[in-house]
Amino acid sequence: MPQDRFDGLEQRPGVSPDVIALERRLYGWRRETADRIGATYPDPLPAPAQVDGARRGSEPLASLINPAPDGALLRDAADSFLDALDGLPVAQVLAEGLGDPPDAERLSRWFTLAWTPDGAELKRLAEECSLEADVLRWSARQLARPFFHRLGELLVGGEGMASRPPDAAGCPSCGGAPRMARYERDEGRRHLWCDLCNLQWTFPRVTCPFCLNRNQERLGYLVIEGSEQYRIDVCEECHGYLRAIDERGRPEGSQVDFPIEDVGTLHLGLFAEQQGYQPGENHRLDG
């Protein structure tokens, strides 16, 4: 995702310059961290059978291996992550709460929060660190992104896109809820995207990707007047929402850049939540 694409974001209505500035920092940090990680993560590499199993959708890859990086690599990433946020209020809050530097055990727990749905552990660590739970989870996911991007690359390999059985919810790499979706141009298939792993996978339409509700009377979508290429898929059972891009409403040949669209359509998420819907990750967290 070249830096110059951020300039296009600034022209889009409803996009906060602060959000763009934050994403620029995080993007730059992710690229540097990915370079530093190189081929050293994951260690050991998942066995071919494990990758194969996750590709076929039996279990997410992160539950078949231990996705935690080794102590030194994680510490290096955490230090540079906090440096990347330097100057923002959240940097000081995180450093004070987690410890500067955080000890190994706390680092490991912080990392694990990125992808496990253990709401009780999230509350525990948040209380120990005197941090807000949503800030703690957000920071954990940002810290983990370069590592899970690498897992996602291993999973997809040369095949372009992962898949999951229609009765399985969650990203094939981390098991997490999708953040956005796209409806492909040719046959209207729906592909979900995980922001943690930067991975797409095909998922049936007219099915809630969070609670697997298939009752068509309890599923719907919001059409955005004047921006028909965007829609918000909603489920009246779990009240989950998913921002989606319909490629059929876009010029021929245009590609969907999910990280950019994630920032560019934040206002749709705000709108959906004001309507009483909630993001998928909230549905997934237990405890």
């Binding site: 339409r205 007219v206 068509q216 059409v223 007047e225």
Partner: protein, 180 residues
């Protein structure tokens, strides 16, 4: 409708020190409409392609192939593709039209008149051209003067009744669009 930052997303971004003003203002100006998608089967031939029909306030706004249906996987033939028009075209007939024999004009008639006229003509034709026995003296109880053509939109139960009625009348030329 006012959109506030008092949402989970808004709350989180606020704690990160992000000014959400432009996003909130844009969200407040959004106009949306609620739509639904329903899966169904194409009413035409026996292939039975899957469809997704989008509706808004019970009006059809889109018809497309169902990409998850194992038979067509999102594709549709030209007839299936035009189903949207079947539901919404303003050229659909909404009144019964009748053209009398050797007339060049269509005239509007009532359903009651049309159904009674059809019944009268079936009876007249059957009475005039009914054959009890063929030229070899075998009992046949049939008429060759009437043919029937069923359509793919008939369901199984309707097809059963259609076949029963036509054979009871003595028809032999009984066809169905799905055979073509």
């Amino acid at each position: 409708m006012a959109v506030s930052g008092a949402t989970a997303l808004g709350g989180l971004l606020g704690k990160l020190g992000v000014d959400l003003g432009p996003s909130l203002a844009h969200a407040e100006a959004l106009k949306t409409r609620y739509a639904k998608e329903s899966t169904t089967i194409c009413p035409y031939c026996g292939v039975g392609c899957g469809l997704i029909v989008s509706t808004m306030n019970r009006n059809v706004i889109n018809v497309e192939g169902d990409p998850d249906h194992p038979i067509n996987q999102g594709s549709l033939c030209c007839k299936g593709q035009s189903l949207y028009q079947v539901a919404t075209s303003d050229r659909r007939l909404t009144k019964v039209l009748y053209r009398a024999p050797r007339s060049a004009e269509w005239e509007e008639v009532s359903w009651e008149w049309a159904i009674n006229r059809i019944a009268d003509r079936v009876k007249e034709t059957r009475d005039k051209y009914f054959t009890k026995k063929d030229d070899k003296g075998r009992v046949v109880n049939r008429t060759h003067a009437i043919a029937a053509l069923g359509g793919a939109a008939l369901d199984n139960e309707e097809c059963y009744l259609y076949g029963k009625l036509m054979r009871a009348l003595g028809l032999v030329f009984i066809e169905h669009q799905a055979r073509i």
